[in-house]
């Protein structure tokens, strides 16, 4: 990393009065390494971890049951119908993929913006991205009527039918966007892990662990030449991931915006989907970070500074989202289009009006408490607000997907959407998948980037006169 004098002052001197530091004082290169690798390599498995994992794994099994029955009977087990052709599956898809965005944002965009407070949260945020994308990526497949065909017909491969995907469809864009996003996120995460895996290789006592981590570290040895290329590639990946992450939710929003349905056909969707994604993503980061720093003693590294910053990002993106909602109402009125106006009226006062007002409450009203500094610095309160935001963002997708569909152009074809138990099981099941993966991750991979944390230490800096070289 560029460790010019400017950055140093950010980490060391330019704190506002009372602002917590990014890294608690007193750490050394060795202590950071030990502290982070201790969780994986030394710490015994605790009852807390086991019970948490068991719950998550139980939910994962529920997901398996739900999907198994789905494949057996068909999507008719869900509450979807005509007109509401998309229900929980797509809502969950958008929700999960949105959550994933925070990880890439933290690791790529904040890297480009040289916000090095990100160093202590980017690793698990990236893992969160991967797992969220895995949860999300499942839905476009299983929500189809014939997933056994969709799984390969959506890709352009030379087949015996001589037919190809239809590239004007946003769903094909989705396929490309989500699979690219998944691939790039995985590469980014893995590249970031390589030096830490080398650390684990060199620190682990268990020969099997040494072997496995050694294999994954691919012989990383920290050579200056390697670091140079590594840094270059990492930066370029960040540079590529930044437009990618912005594009992914844009493409997801195109699923709706490209259609002609009132409530979907909205030009403001791309920016407000991206903002909403980051909003929910940061909420999920906090939902993960607050227990992690609590139970794994990471308060030194994930400090109140991080909570504060994350809360501020939420506040900012939340306001963008609020602006989006306001604009939707404005557009509906200003368009003078009867269908649009009706859609907005129905959203607010129709049979699903409760969902809209719940969305306004959870996504806009309640998070305004984040203006209060003491709330931002209080982990438990922040945790609760984050949960509220996650619920709110899910409601947003419910309102957009189901409520727009249930009453469209022809009143004769209006309908209602009532999710079934299989809808709920699938949704809860993905939470199981996500947290199962998360629990495994914190036990087998460094949850905080060790080598990047090292760069935050004063002792990692080259002495004054050397810095002048630059």
């Amino acid at each position: 990393m560029q460790q010019g004098p400017e950055e140093k002052t950010i980490t060391e001197e330019r704190l506002l009065p009372g602002q917590p530091a990014t890294l608690a004082p007193g750490h050394t290169l060795g202590s950071i390494t030990d502290k982070i690798s201790w969780v994986v390599l030394r710490r015994p498995i605790t009852l807390g971890w086991v019970s948490g994992f068991a719950i998550a794994f139980g939910l994962l099994m529920l997901l398996q049951l739900a999907i198994g029955y789905l494949l057996f009977r068909g999507v008719g087990i869900w509450g979807i119908n005509i007109p509401v052709g998309w229900g929980f599956a797509i809502i969950n898809f958008v929700w999960w993929i949105g959550i994933g965005h925070a990880g890439t944002l933290i690791s790529a965009i904040l890297l480009l913006l040289k916000q090095n407070w990100r160093n202590s949260i980017n690793r698990f945020a990236e893992a969160m991205t991967l797992f969220a994308v895995a949860c999300a990526g499942m839905f476009p497949l299983i929500h189809t009527g014939r997933p056994w065909l969709a799984v390969y017909w959506l890709f352009p491969y030379p087949n015996t039918m001589g037919v190809w995907p239809q590239f004007r469809s946003p769903l094909i864009w989705d396929v490309f966007a989500v699979s690219t996003y998944g691939t790039i996120s995985l590469l980014f995460w893995f590249v970031g892990l390589i030096p830490d895996l080398a650390t684990f290789r060199d620190t682990a006592k268990n020969p099997v662990a040494r072997f496995v981590y050694g294999l994954l570290a691919m012989g990383w040895r920290g050579s200056a030449r390697h670091w140079k290329r590594y840094e270059s590639a990492y930066l370029l990946l960040a540079g590529l991931a930044t437009p990618l992450v912005l594009s992914v939710h844009t493409v997801v929003s195109f699923d709706f915006a490209v259609s002609i349905l009132p409530g979907w056909h909205t030009t403001i969707f791309p920016p407000y989907f991206v903002a909403g994604a980051i909003y929910s993503g940061f909420a999920m980061v906090l939902v993960l970070a607050i227990p992690i720093r609590q139970f794994y003693g990471m308060k030194d590294m994930i400090t109140e500074r991080h909570l504060d910053n994350a809360a501020k990002v939420m506040l900012a993106t939340g306001l963008i989202v609020a602006y989006g909602y306001a604009m939707e109402v404005f557009f509906a009125w200003y368009s003078a289009n009867g269908f649009e106006r009706f859609m907005m009226h129905n959203r607010m006062f129709g049979p699903y009006g409760w969902a809209y007002w719940m969305l306004i409450a959870t996504n806009i009203v309640i998070p305004q408490v984040l203006w209060i500094r003491s709330v931002r610095l209080a982990p438990f309160k922040l945790f609760l607000v984050s949960i509220v935001v996650l619920v709110g963002m899910w409601m947003e997708r419910f309102v957009i997907v189901a409520v727009s569909l249930h009453r469209d152009f022809l009143p004769s074809s209006w309908g209602m959407y009532v999710p079934t138990r299989w809808d709920w099981m699938t949704f809860v099941g993905t939470l199981g998948l996500f947290f199962t993966a998360m629990f495994l991750f914190i036990r087998i991979m460094p949850m905080i980037s060790i080598f990047e944390m090292r760069t935050l230490l004063p002792e990692s800096k080259i002495e004054e006169e050397v810095a002048a070289h630059d």
Partner: protein, 1031 residues
């Protein structure tokens, strides 16, 4: 998935039997079906399969009784290509495209191929579908000996090619796996021979005694042959009596004609000449009304606003809202009992009848205006009484028609088409009396179900118990058969020889399209047995009868021509001039109580005889759009007053009898009255029919079969879910149906285009696609459409559309490719109604196509919006993006019954793929018909396809000729001409979807005295065009 099993099967091709229709869906779906069975009751139940079909006995029987079809069953229920196509279409759909090796299929040729059959080419046969109010002449499409589709017979004068829901759906009854399949004695299967032995003795005894203890109970008989046979029967058993029972047919019309003319008379209407129509609860546009098809056609023709001032105007005095009332320009909702006083007032004002009745307010204005109009159009007007109206109303209508010069012009009297035009209730009363008196030794019931549908006060069941020998013939094991000693399984009309008269008297020969599936006995054969001709075949009987009737020389060619044309020339009833004998109008009966109960025959299952027909059950009832149930219809005000909501379960108490039914609050229903539909509440009558709705017959008395006061409604506090396909019947101010009055139309013929602003053609960056050869398009005239749903059932039949059952309908998953949206406009007390058939619009800028990720829905070069089932992966995105919501999705394996029931497999149209689960489907303008027409035109020296050669199924079936389909590139085609008319508009055209299906705007013809010219700006202000909304 089942990869392993399939490859295994494929390695051993030597055993075709095992490989046929392999396990691909085998285990999975079978258990699924079982699952469905155990999980669901009622309407879903019918989908289970006929266990019988699996047994060797069944196969053996098929070979014996079903020679034409026998080969189809070889190899464990599979056969020749066409049949196979149906059976395994969806199977291959799942299997092949899932990258699994295609299973080996057998191919089974005939042993001796019938000469008339060209494999792969359907044949059409003319026959007729008998109904009590007159048979419906039809052409039946047959694929290698199995009938698959019923079409109207355009050559027939009675229907002009139109059909109705019952006719269209009658083919499903043929293949119903729940039909009675064997003769039973006290419930045990017996062969025909045993029945003969058992009945011979008692019959001989009767013969000796002159038949005094023998009673024959039939439904309405319009068959000349059967009538002749019954005459023979009465000769053989001179003391025997023949009784006729029909629960809903004719209503009081017959009693009235008896009173007025001293003889039974059928009243036909000729709307061709009508300019003013007043109905007194006369629902002449509903399937089942005498002359429905011709009424609809003529009415629609007279409703063209292009006729200007000569356009027909209709006033409807109406109790239960019907589609006839929906088509009326002025509708007066009153209770059924109040129609009489309106009729008296109207009669007085046109100068007939006795003392005038004083009407108040709205009613007085209505009657005055109607009377004035009637008198100004003497000879070009008609008063139509409802069948279920009182004798007085019928008499008044006769008088009015007479006084207005309508008789002979718009009203035609003919002799009844029925052989025994009796008063059914009286006839039934008599037989019940005889049975109670112990005078009846043998009761033969042919095609009737009086235990279920007789008036409850007659207590038919109790009387029947006193008869020592009871024989029932019918297509189903029903309430009556279960209480009879012998049940003879009857034949379907497509399985038997016979004849029948249409409502205009024209007789048609009924010829079988298929040998009886379960060796049933037709009514002719049963009668022949009793007449001592137990070996006579239906064919001989019918032919012999007509030989006696035919006077010309060459009987054979006459017979062939009659069969071919589907009608017997010269049998049409002649109009009759008959003087009125009695004109005294009976006094109105006095009844007490404030709440009125009104009984109605059901719009889709008639008197209950079609209750087992799943297509009809799933056809939304006109106006209410309810499926699978009957309901207690109440007005919204009455509901409010009694604090009853839709779907509340109420107890109906009338004359000490009680039933429970669910309420449906209905706009336009008169206050303080409840309509109940007959035909539901069956138990143990087949898997479809049982357990649906409530049995209104349990309240119906012989002295008040249609309406009466004294109903008590009590809330039970429970609710009962009803499945409605259109929950919202308000247009919300959108310009979906575009309507104007005639006056407005004459002033501004292009009014429909001013309601929204459709984007101009060419408003695009790209060159428009050129449709060079054909350019198929459709217009639907909403002024003509009477909302009868015949097209819906025709489409279902043509396109192998599955039935989903009540639960799935309730969830919004019905599969109809074509629906009729019914909208109400105006007040809840008396709304205007509009019917809008909505098939796929085949948009040129189809929003569905753009969003499909796999290209499963794309445009053809002729402008069809193709749906490629085998490519579809089921994202449902197309449906979400379809503003018309005409796409239907196979959420579950809705076609399971087709695969698993051999009978239902035979029903499928081999030219249309049977869709599997997870696949989207929709209307494709009957592309199979277009393809066949194109191929035959190209093979025939590349001739042009003439306009009218390709008829879509809905178009063919439409009795009102509201649907026109054709080539828009041909400027002389009917569709081009329709599209050039100013009434033509595209639904939601403001979205720039460029629909190929367009509508003719509604033009109403209200009387300016009743409806002063209003500002009709509501539409325009609310549904503002949005030209910028690209697709």
């Amino acid at each position: 998935m089942d990869n392993e099993q399939n490859t295994k099967g494929a390695q051993e091709p030597a055993k075709p039997k095992a490989d046929v229709c392999p396990t691909k869906r085998g285990k999975l779906e079978l258990s699924e079906v079982r699952d469905m069975l155990t999980e669901k009751k009622g309407p879903q139940y019918w989908r289970t399969l006929d266990e019988l079909s699996q047994t060797p006995e069944f196969e053996e029987m098929l070979h014996r009784e079903f020679p034409r079809q026998a080969s189809e069953w070889e190899g464990g229920g599979t056969s020749r290509r066409d049949f196979l196509k149906v059976m395994s279409a969806s199977l291959a759909l799942a299997a092949l495209s899932a990258c699994v090796k295609q299973p080996l299929e057998p191919i089974v040729p005939y042993v001796r191929q019938p000469e008339e059959i060209t494999l792969g080419k359907p044949l059409f046969f003319a026959t007729a579908f008998p109904m009590p109010m007159g048979a419906v002449p039809v052409l039946v499409e047959s694929h290698e000996g199995r009938p698959t589709k019923i079409e109207g017979n355009p050559q027939h004068p009675a229907t002009l090619g139109g059909t109705d829901v019952f006719t269209q759906a009658s083919i499903l009854t043929l293949y119903d796996p729940d039909r009675s399949q064997t003769i039973t004695y006290l419930g045990d299967a017996r062969p025909w021979g045993q029945f003969l032995n058992a009945i011979r003795g008692p019959l001989n005894a009767q013969k000796a005694a002159g038949g005094g203890g023998l009673r024959l109970l039939t439904g309405a008989v319009t068959s000349p042959t059967l009538a002749a046979q019954i005459r023979d029967f009465q000769k053989l058993y001179p003391q025997a009596k023949w009784h006729v029972w029909e629960p809903v047919a004719h209503g009081n019309a017959r009693a009235a004609s008896q009173a007025r003319f001293g003889q039974p008379i059928d009243t036909q209407y000729n709307f061709e000449k009508a300019e003013v129509v007043v109905t007194l609860d006369g629902d002449f546009l509903s399937s089942g009304f005498l002359g429905f098809h011709r009424n609809a056609r003529q009415f629609a023709a007279r409703r063209r606003p292009e006729l200007k001032e000569a356009m027909l105007r209709m006033y409807a005095v109406e109790s239960t809202p019907t589609n006839t009332g929906g088509k009326a320009d002025h509708r007066l909702p009153v209770r059924a009992s109040e129609v009489e006083s309106i009729a008296r007032a109207l009669a007085a004002q046109v100068g007939v009848g006795g003392a005038s009745v004083n009407l108040q307010g709205e009613q007085a204005k209505f009657v005055a205006a109607a009377a004035k109009d009637l008198q100004s159009k003497r000879g070009r007007c008609v008063v139509v009484p409802g069948e279920h109206q009182s004798v007085a109303v019928h008499m008044l209508a006769h008088s009015m028609n007479q006084a207005l010069g309508a008789v002979g012009q718009t009203v035609i009297y003919t002799d009844p088409i029925e052989a025994a035009p009796v008063d059914y209730t009286a006839s039934l009363k008599e037989i019940v009396g005889d049975m109670n008196a112990g005078k009846v030794d043998i009761l033969i019931m042919v095609g009737v179900n009086p235990v279920y549908d007789a008036p409850v006060d007659l207590n038919f069941q109790q009387a029947m118990d006193k008869v020592p020998l009871r024989v029932h013939q019918g297509m189903y094991q029903d309430e009556t058969s279960r209480l009879s000693h012998w049940h003879i399984n009857g034949t379907h009309y497509l399985e038997q020889w016979g004849d029948a008269r249409a409502f205009d008297g024209t007789a048609s020969i009924i010829q079988p399209l298929i040998a009886p599936l379960y060796s049933g006995r037709s009514d002719h054969e049963l009668l022949a047995m009793m007449n001592g001709q137990s070996d006579a075949s239906g064919y001989d009987l019918v032919r012999k009868y007509w030989q006696t009737q035919h006077t010309g020389l060459d009987f054979e060619s006459w017979w062939r021509r009659s069969l071919h044309d589907g009608l017997i020339e010269g049998t049409t009833s002649a109009p009759k001039t008959i003087a009125a004998k009695g004109t005294a109008i009976p006094a109105a009966p006095q009844s007490s109580g404030s709440m009125e109960i009104m009984f109605r025959r059901d719009h889709t299952i008639y008197d209950g005889r079609f209750a087992q027909n799943a297509w009809l059950q799933e056809t939304p009832k006109p106006m209410t759009q309810l499926t699978w149930d009957n309901a207690v219809l109440l007005s919204i005000a009455t509901g409010k007053k009694l604090d009853i909501k839709t779907e509340d379960l109420v107890e109906l108490e009338y004359q000490g009898r009680k039933v429970k039914g669910a309420v449906w609050l209905t706009p336009g229903h008169p206050d303080n009255a409840a309509t109940v539909y007959l035909g539901y509440g069956r138990d143990n009558s087949g898997r479809v029919a049982s357990g649906l709705g409530f049995n209104a017959y349990k309240l119906r008395r012989s002295d008040a079969p249609w309406f009466d006061r004294g109903l008590k409604l009590t809330k039970t506090g429970e609710t009962y879910e009803l499945a409605c396909t259109q929950g919202h019947q308000n247009m919300e101010g959108r310009a979906l149906v575009r309507a104007a009055t005639l006056e407005e139309f004459i002033k501004n013929p292009g009014f429909a285009h001013e309601m929204v602003e459709a984007p101009a053609p060419g408003l695009t960056m790209y060159a428009a696609y050129q449709y060079k050869d054909h350019k198929w398009g459709m217009t639907i005239d909403m002024n003509s459409c009477i909302g009868c749903k015949t097209c819906v059932v025709a489409c279902q039949s043509e396109n192998n559309i599955p039935v989903v059952g009540k639960t799935e309908v309730k969830r919004g998953r019905h599969m109809h490719w074509l629906r009729i949206d019914t909208y109400h406009e105006g007040t809840a007390e008396n709304p205007k109604s509009y019917f809008q058939p909505v098939p796929c619009m085949q948009c040129e800028n189809a929003p569905c196509e753009v969003v499909c990720p796999v290209g499963a829905t794309v445009h053809s070069a002729e402008g069809l919006n193709d749906m490629v089932y085998n490519r579809c992966v089921g994202t449902r995105y197309c449906s979400n993006n379809c503003p018309y919501k005409v796409r239907r999705f196979n959420f579950l394996l809705f076609t399971a019954p087709v695969w698993d029931s051999p009978q239902l497999s035979m029903l499928q149209n081999p030219d249309v793929t049977v869709r599997s689960r997870g696949v989207m489907e929709k209307c494709n303008y009957c592309v199979q018909r277009i393809t066949h027409a194109r191929i035959s035109a190209e093979e025939d020296n590349n001739r042009k396809i003439p306009d009218g050669e390709v008829l879509t199924a809905c178009q063919q079936a439409c009795p009102a000729d509201a649907i026109v389909f054709g080539d828009m590139n041909d400027p002389n085609s009917r569709v081009s001409k329709m599209k050039a008319m100013q009434r033509n508009f595209g639904l939601l055209e403001e979205l720039n979807t460029r629909p190929r299906t367009t509508y003719m705007a509604v033009v109403r013809n209200p009387n300016p005295e009743l409806e002063p010219q209003q500002k009709r700006e509501e539409h325009a202000s609310l549904a503002v065009a949005d030209a910028g909304k690209g697709v």
